[in-house]
Amino acid sequence: MDALGATQRRGFGQTLRRDLWWVQPVVVFLGLSAFVVYATWAALQGDHYRFGPYLSPFYSPELFGDPLHAWLGAKPSWYPGWLIFSPAIFILWAPGGFRLTCYYYRGAYYKAFWADPPSCSVGEPRQRYRGERSFPLILQNVHRYFLYLALVFLVILAHDAWDAMWFDGKFGIGVGTLVLTTNVILLGGYTLGCHSLRHLVGGFMDRLSRSPVRRQAYACVSCLNAAHMKWAWMSLFWVAFSDLYVRLCAMGVWKDWRIL
C-alpha cells in the first residue's frame, strides 16, 4: 500500500509532539546502563558477597567458590586460568536472560537503546526493520525457559532470606534480613507477574472456567502483571541495593544493625 500520502516519513527524532517525550527513554537508558555497569562490576569482584548469614543475591546460589558454603565446592580445576573467577559468573546469566527477554524490558530497551522507535510517533534513525521475526531477535521467544530458571532462583533466594534470620543458630532480624526479604518479595512480584507465566498458568486456555485452580492462578498472575513495569524496576533497583548492602557490610563500611 502506498502510505504517507499526506506527509513524508519523518527523520530521526522528528515529531510534532510538545511533551517531554525523550525523558522516558533517557531515564530507561540511564537506569539500565547503571544497573548493567554495577552488576558487571559486582559480579566480577568475587569477594565481599557474604556477611554473617547474608548472601548477596548476585552470588546466590553459590555453585563454586568458598569451599565452606559453595554447593559444588571450590573453584573447579577445569576453569580456564586466564578467565576471571567469580561465583557470580556461573549463575547471573539466568536472571540476566530472564530480564533481557522480558516483554516489558524488550519494549523499553528497544526504545531507549535502539531508538526503534525513540518514542511513540517520533521519527526513527533506520528504515530497515526486521522486528522479532528473524534472527537474532526471534530468540526472544526463549523467554519462558528463562522464566523456569527464574522461578528456581526465587525459591533459592527465599531460602537465603530465611537463612538471613539465623545468627549463629539463633533467630534474629537485622537490617540485612529486611533487605534480603524485601528483595525476594520484589523479585516475586516481578517474576510471578511475568507475561509468559500468565500464559502458562491459564492464558493458553479459552475456557478457563472449567479449571478453577488455573482460573485463580491466572487471576493472580494477571493482577501482578498489570503492574509489571513497576515490579520490574523496583526489583531491579533492590537486587542491586541488596548486593551493595551485603558488600558494604562485608567491607566494614556499613554496620548491620540488629533489630531482634
Binding site: 515529531t15 516483554y103 526493520y129 531477535l137
Partner: protein
C-alpha cells in the same frame, strides 16, 4: 473571549502545507468543535471526517500536537494554547484531503483473518453455553471502535510501512477476540506467525497508549497471541507435551 490558533494540514495526495487559523474558544470545547468553527467561518472546503462527537464512532482520528487522538475527545483545556495547536491527518494512511485519510486497507485486511468458527452446539436446540468469566476476557476487545489510531501510531506501519507483511495492532486485537473466544475452534497461529507478521511487533505499547477505549492491546491481546505462537512453533517442550497430550487449548 479567548482565542487560539490551530495549525491545520491542508492538502491532498499531491502535497500540502500547514495553515494557521485563529478562532474563538470557550470552556468545554474539544478540538473537533474548533475545527468545525474554522470550517464554518474560515475554511468551508476543509475536509474532516466525523460523526458521533462522543468518542464512539472512531471517525475523527487525527494527530494533535503530534500524537494520534480523537478530535472529539481532546479537550482544549488539555492542550497548551500558548502556541498553535497542530492538527494533521493520520500519517500512516494515504491522504484524501486535509484531515481525511483513506482507510480502505484496514477494511480489506479484516477479510483476510479467518472468521469465527464455533464448536458444535452444546444443547439439542442448537445453542451454546458460555461462562461469563470466559467471555469477559474477549469482551475487552469488543470495545474497539476502529478509529485506527493504534494502526497509525504503530511504527511498523508508520515508519517502516510493512503494510503487506504486518496486520497491525487493530487486527491483532481482532484475531485475539476470535482466537480466545470460548466457542471458537479455529486455529490462526500459522497465519499470525507468517502472513500476519506478529513477530514484527516489538512491544513498544504505543498502541495501548493511544487507544481511546483503553484496551490493553499489548498486554491482553498481542503478547498472549505471541505466547500462543511460541507454543506452536518455538517451544520444543510444548511440542513434546502435545505428542503425549494432544493439542489442547481448552
Amino acid at each position: 473571549m479567548a482565542k487560539a490558533t490551530f495549525r491545520i494540514w491542508r492538502g491532498d495526495a499531491k502535497g500540502g502545507r500547514f495553515e494557521d487559523y485563529t478562532t474563538e474558544v470557550v470552556p468545554g470545547m474539544v478540538v473537533l468543535d474548533a475545527i468545525h468553527e474554522i470550517q464554518a467561518t474560515q475554511a468551508n472546503d476543509l475536509a474532516v471526517r466525523w460523526n458521533c462527537k462522543a468518542g464512539k464512532c472512531g471517525s475523527c482520528s487525527a494527530e494533535i500536537n503530534g500524537l494520534p487522538r480523537l478530535m472529539c475527545m481532546t479537550r482544549l483545556s488539555q492542550l497548551s494554547l500558548d502556541k498553535p495547536v497542530t492538527v494533521e491527518p493520520m500519517r500512516s494512511f494515504p491522504l484524501i484531503k486535509d484531515l481525511a485519510t483513506d482507510l480502505s486497507w484496514n477494511f480489506r485486511l479484516k477479510g483476510s483473518i479467518k472468521p469465527f468458527k464455533p464448536r458444535p452446539p452444546d444443547a439439542p436446540d442448537g445453542t451454546w453455553r458460555m461462562d461469563q468469566a470466559d467471555v469477559d476476557r474477549v469482551q475487552e476487545f469488543r470495545k474497539c471502535i476502529e478509529c485506527f489510531l493504534c494502526q497509525d501510531v504503530c511504527h511498523v506501519l508508520r515508519d517502516h510501512q510493512l503494510f503487506d507483511e504486518f496486520i497491525g495492532p487493530r487486527f491483532l486485537v481482532h484475531a485475539a477476540s476470535l482466537e480466545m473466544h470460548p466457542l471458537d475452534i479455529e486455529d490462526r497461529r500459522e497465519e499470525l506467525r507468517k502472513a500476519q507478521g506478529i513477530g514484527y511487533c516489538n512491544i513498544t505499547k504505543c498502541c495501548t497508549k493511544v487507544c481511546p477505549e483503553e484496551i490493553k492491546i499489548t498486554d491482553n491481546a498481542i503478547i498472549p497471541l505471541k505466547e500462543r505462537v511460541v507454543d506452536q512453533f518455538y517451544d520444543p517442550l510444548a511440542r513434546l507435551l502435545r505428542v503425549f497430550r494432544g493439542n489442547r487449548s481448552g
